[in-house]
């Protein structure tokens, strides 16, 4: 325990934006064929440093086949609310779930990021036994500890019972048990986030494990059998208070991004694909009069392509769907970044008016058909996928892999790990940084990125910026 609050805890999003820029980025590495253990790469992002945009340290796990995907910090700015009772936690441990193995690693990033090491390993059996869930995924630190969403229920294939959220103790990392008391109609799970002072949570749906673990199941997708609902929860009551169906054709509503300023009661969610026209879409949800509402506020059209440029999965369509697989919101709630993993584009929308996102920036890189190279001339396989924005909003980092088995279906030639960065203009506009390109070790793919001192998809704030 510190004598003072961690200096990377910020009362408001505005204070987080004004703080010192990140020096290191943490990126998850996965071995798609499980031939090597998954790993955590520590990347130097200090401009002018001799090892700029290079991996300076790697934490290799002792097991194979974990399949790293998302991860999060043990503590964040939400600790600055007296309600948390934990003002003196440190932002120190990265909680990394393996979505295939259901194992969780706790990595200690102190005394220095380049000395990061394994602190604790939580074996799958403990999670199965204490929660009845499997395939842990999204991690957020919150009022009752560390919240971890899961993609599967019990049983070998994860279909025995619903998927949900469980809680871990924020100091000992002991798995405490299921979070939900009343889940209502919720069965599937993917992402979740919240507004802490307003005391609500929003969660999304992906699919049952057999629908994604061995690759996307085209028949299920075309039959609209993937998730297409959002669930709204009373956070302290642990109760589902409302479920909204986006319509069955809006397959896979994945990443949930509430406004960072807690006085704003709206947020966004991205829909991967509309099965009627292959569009990707952005939806804006909001709370008004105690009720939640949602509306489609932006669409991204598919791009026609010749059959010989398409993987077998898409040949019947003669087009590339944008595949909105990740979205991320800058800390000032002004710019929403949207990954179009299929078409190979990263879009920047001005969402000052959350109901009218305006496209103000775009970068093309990779893509199933376009296959745009990086400005440095290197081939970028896959498309923009996991996005992370620096706290000050000036740098946008992303990687290229979606999920091992899905990568192979959409990009059969392989998706060697890549991480790039673009600079965002003050009033919009996006430009790839020529000198930023991370080379990953042979055989590894790159997934989510976390930035030292917090970023735009980890910290929850309890005070408005005003």
């Amino acid at each position: 325990m510190n004598a003072r609050p961690d200096k990377t805890f910020y009362a408001s999003p505005k204070l987080a934006m004004e703080a010192e820029a990140e020096n290191f980025a943490y990126t998850l590495l996965l071995s798609p064929d499980a031939s090597q253990p998954d790993a955590l790469a520590v990347i130097d992002v200090r401009p002018g440093s001799p090892s700029y945009s290079q991996i300076v340290h790697t934490v290799v796990m002792p097991n194979k086949g974990d399949e790293f995907h998302h991860f999060g910090w043990n503590a964040c700015s939400s600790a600055l609310s007296p309600l948390s009772g934990h003002a003196f936690l440190e932002r120190r441990f990265l909680i990394i779930p393996g979505i295939r193995s259901s194992r969780i690693y706790v990595i200690d990033t102190k005394p220095h990021p380049t000395e990061a090491a394994i602190h604790k390993i939580i074996e799958p059996e403990e999670i199965f036994r204490k929660t009845g869930y499997s395939r842990p995924h999204t991690v957020h630190c919150g009022p009752e500890g560390v919240y971890v969403s899961t993609l599967g229920g019990a049983g070998a294939d994860g279909t025995d019972g619903p998927a949900g959220i469980f809680i871990m103790d924020c100091e000992t990392f002991e798995v405490l048990g299921r979070w939900e008391i009343d889940r209502g109609p919720q069965q599937l799970h993917y992402d979740f986030w919240w507004n802490l002072p307003r005391d609500y949570m929003v969660s999304s749906e992906w699919a049952l494990p057999p629908q994604f673990e061995n690759g996307i199941v085209p028949e299920d997708l075309l039959a609209n059998r993937y998730g297409h609902r959002l669930h709204f929860w009373d956070l302290r009551d642990r109760k589902n208070v409302q479920t909204i169906d986006l319509g069955a054709n809006h397959q896979m509503a994945l990443e949930v991004r509430p406004a960072h300023d807690p006085s704003r009661e709206y947020g966004f969610v991205g829909v991967v694909v509309d099965t009627t026209n292959l569009e990707g879409s952005i939806w804006t949800w909001w709370r008004e009069g105690g009720q939640f509402h949602i509306r489609k506020t932006a669409t991204i059209p598919p791009e026609p392509a010749s059959v010989d440029r398409l993987p077998p999965l898409l040949q019947g369509f003669g087009a590339v769907p944008p595949l909105v697989t990740d979205i991320d919101l800058s800390l000032d709630d002004r710019f929403l970044y949207v990954s179009c993993w299929g078409t190979g584009e990263l879009r920047q929308y001005d969402v000052s008016d959350p109901f009218n996102p305006t496209l103000v920036g775009s970068v093309h890189i990779g893509g199933i058909d376009r296959r745009t190279a990086h400005p440095n001339g290197k081939t970028y396989a896959g498309g923009p996928q996991m996005v992370e924005i620096s706290r000050d909003g000036k740098r946008v980092y992303w990687t290229n892999s979606l999920y091992s088995t899905w990568d192979d279906q959409f990009y059969p030639d392989g998706v060697p790990g890549a991480q790039v960065m673009a600079r965002a203009g003050k009033e919009g506009g996006l430009e790839l940084e020529k000198d930023y390109w991370v080379d990953f070790p042979q055989g590894y793919r790159a997934h989510q990125i976390r930035l030292e001192g917090g970023d735009c998809s980890t910290d929850s704030f309890c005070y408005p910026s005003a």
């Binding site: 325990m1 510190n2 004598a3 003072r4 609050p5 200096k7 805890f9 910020y10 009362a11 408001s12 505005k14 204070l15 600055l80 609310s81 007296p82 309600l83 948390s84 009772g85 934990h86 003002a87 003196f88 009022p143 009752e144 500890g145 100091e171 802490l196 002072p197 307003r198 005391d199 302290r236 807690p262 006085s263 309890c462 005070y463 408005p464 005003a466």
Partner: protein, 221 residues
Amino acid sequence: METGWSVTELWLAVVLSGAYHGINPAMGWPLAVSAGLMERRPRALALAMWQLAIGHTLAILLALLPFAILLALVTWLQVVRVSASLLVIGFGIYLLVNRRHPRVLARIRPTQLGLWSFVVATAHGAGLMLVPLFLGLCRADESDRAAQSLMAGDVGTGLLVSAVHTLSMIAAGGGFAWVVYRYVGLKAIAGSWFNLDRVWAASLVAVGSLSLIFALESGGM
């Protein structure tokens, strides 16, 4: 005059402990800042501070009133004083050893500030810290009154101690919250937050020990 603190000193201690609790962020003033900013009006700040104060007062009363009633057992006065002191010392030691915060706090809604304040003050032994001061004040006004009127008097003293303590707490905490809200900005929240857990626990041990010494000296047990 018996050993121990004078009445003025005791009242001063009641006021100072109020200020101490008030400016400690863990007792809630940042929540008043947050409320003011969320609703963009100072009234919300004042309302939140008021809720915090009510919860805090109730927590103090919960600690003091049982002793006010016990004091009526005049014959056992010494035992009451010694046990109260030991209780305060014991709780301080418990807080020193057990650094974990009760998880039940996290289950309270952000809108239930009064309840939160009550639970957080109770969990930290905020009321216990006042017990020795309260007993000192009751002793100061002992006379040959009948047990019944003595008890009424002690209950009255208990109410007065709680009120004075809370007024001081709300003035200090509310003042701090207002300055942060209106002038200094949110940086002051992290900036003014010190880990007082150990100091707090040590204060309990110190107050309890002083009270124990005074009780033993005056009582000749």
